[in-house]
Symmetry: C2
């Protein structure tokens, strides 16, 4: 089959790789219908996260079950399914508690020896625990497919961030980061009943989308000016719940400084310096909590799926560029140059 | 009156200062019956926290109301009362939410221009909101007075730490720090129903007290060996809830590394390097939360008081040395040299 590989920073290729096959009784093989490029893939693309030459990439996909191992009972050949960005066994202590990202037998798509989502097909370990079935009719609905694809990462991650931040009815939520995760966090905060949602960002296309997703206010300033602006919007107090969806020192510093005393930061930006932006003395004096991390999106799919199916929540507009598999390298370029927000890959 | 003053690092004096008096209609003057020395006072004693020469000190006290301003209705002359370590107005947004430490008009005993607890009397601003009445008969019960005195800081702070860490029925709680706050966190964790409580410490008198307070296990190792030991006790997973009651880089590093995936650290050690011990990448990968800060003990007194009055919770053994007011400098020396755990000051 054909799949995306990364050979060096900025060197993405689409090439022939071995066809996936059922290796263990719990495996399934999924023919990819839609996949996409994640902001976190850019860390590898830019060489800031190490990869072996030729390693697969892509951790968000949905598709059709093509083959199943002897033990698989939850999905059948021909089923439309979505995969979360990690596989998990569903039976360990952590999985039973919903923390599927800490699964004792879990792993990442695209890690050495596994298939990546940005390819024609994927071998899925622990298929019963990992995959979630979708209504067959969704396969012919492009918008719905796009919305459902976000369950594999960004919508679940945005939800995790909003939960970590403590988004709730009546709360003011501020979102640092105007990428797909930040925008999904706006959707999630609205879904959780936030009264006011402040989106920080200055790319108009993105802040327009934030407003469409439920943001009541947009702050275009950065750094100290952003802090001032959020405080002005909140009687000088800051936001009850702050989403940090970037992972840099500046974004975390901003997040700390716009959080209201007693509030919380939901952090889902992969840390790339953000630890340095965490001023523990400020957090101590003001009782600011920090909660988050890699999102156990598998556990969130059952809760989010009905709202996506009935259109209550529609994250599909986060995709503003669609490429075919051969166009994946162009998709990386577009996201790296921020000419695209999030790139969808059709089979 | 006589009161403790700090003139330079290691230069504590007990000297004549102006008598406190009601200055505003909401003030009360409290004649101090018991006060004590806090581990956090040692930061000033050692010169690691700046103080003006002659500044007062001490933020934990209980005593008898001697005078009240015209607006005070909640306490009367002659009442036995306990004061939390900060005063607060009781009416601002934060006070109404229970975050009295963020009170818009709040302040610390011993800050410039205010009385400290380690003296004969204290002017108390916002007396109705700040002071909590105690049964008059407690005044003649030395043990009970000692237990009640901990409501001004260490018992409430231990409770805050245990809450922040997520201590709950069935949970394994680990406590980093064998000072009075750490020991009170053991008591608090037990009170909140923790199934297993691991106390980290190697001073036998303190770990014996930890066991008496409810610790089921003691880990004497430090650093990497402590992490190994806690993991061995928890099937390799770590503790659900970890209290960080020291504030140094090493204590926070240990706290992070002994927390179970998906667990939380309740931090109440005043940060003195602990930010550096916070490995955000580890916290991200394992979804470890951080919650805590300066404890709003005023808000906890109503909940904790009944258990202290009926003896269900008895933190009084944290005091292992008692001095008179003139002996306060000796008390500091003893705590600094760790020959005393916590020093009580009688009037």
């Amino acid at each position: 089959m054909r799949a995306t590989t990364i050979h060096a920073p900025f060197d993405m290729r689409v090439e022939d790789v071995p066809d996936p096959a059922v290796r263990r009784p719990g495996d399934a093989v999924v023919r990819v219908l839609r996949s996409c490029i994640c902001g976190s893939d850019l860390w590898a693309y830019r060489g800031e996260a190490a990869r072996q030459p030729g390693q697969r990439i892509g951790h968000e996909f949905l598709g059709i079950v093509e083959d199943i191992g002897a033990d698989v009972v939850g999905v059948r050949r021909g089923d439309l399914v979505v995969a979360p960005f990690m596989w998990s066994d569903g039976v360990c202590d952590y999985c039973r508690e919903g923390l599927t990202t800490s699964c004792e037998h879990g792993g990442f798509w695209g890690s050495v020896g596994s298939d990546g989502g940005q390819g024609e097909a994927v071998r899925v370990p622990f298929a019963d625990a990992t995959l979630v079935g979708l209504p067959a009719e969704a396969a012919s609905d492009d918008r719905l497919l796009a919305a459902l694809l976000t369950l594999s990462d960004v919508m679940g991650t945005g939800h995790h961030a909003a939960l970590g931040a403590g988004a709730r009815p009546g709360a003011t939520v501020a979102v640092v980061g105007d990428g797909a995760v930040g925008l999904c966090a706006v959707l999630a905060a609205k879904r959780l009943g936030a009264e006011r949602i402040v989106a920080l960002g200055r790319h108009e296309a993105r802040t327009d989308l934030a407003r469409r997703f439920g943001a009541t206010d947009v702050v275009a300033e950065r750094g100290e000016a952003a802090v001032e602006a959020v405080r002005e919007l909140t009687r000088g107090q800051g936001a009850h719940a702050v989403v940090e969806a970037v992972g840099t020192e500046q974004s975390m510093r901003t997040a700390v400084n716009i959080t209201r005393d007693g509030g919380a930061i939901g952090f889902v930006g992969v840390p790339h310096g953000s630890g340095t932006g965490l001023d523990l003395s400020v957090m101590f004096d003001r009782n600011i909590a920090l909660r988050g991390g890699v999102a156990p999106v598998r556990a969130y799919i059952p809760e989010l799926l009905p709202d996506i199916l009935d259109g209550t929540v529609d994250p599909s507009p986060v995709f503003d560029l669609t490429v075919t598999l051969d166009g994946v390298p162009d998709g990386y370029r577009a996201m790296d140059e921020r000419t695209a927000l999030k790139v969808m890959v059709t089979g």
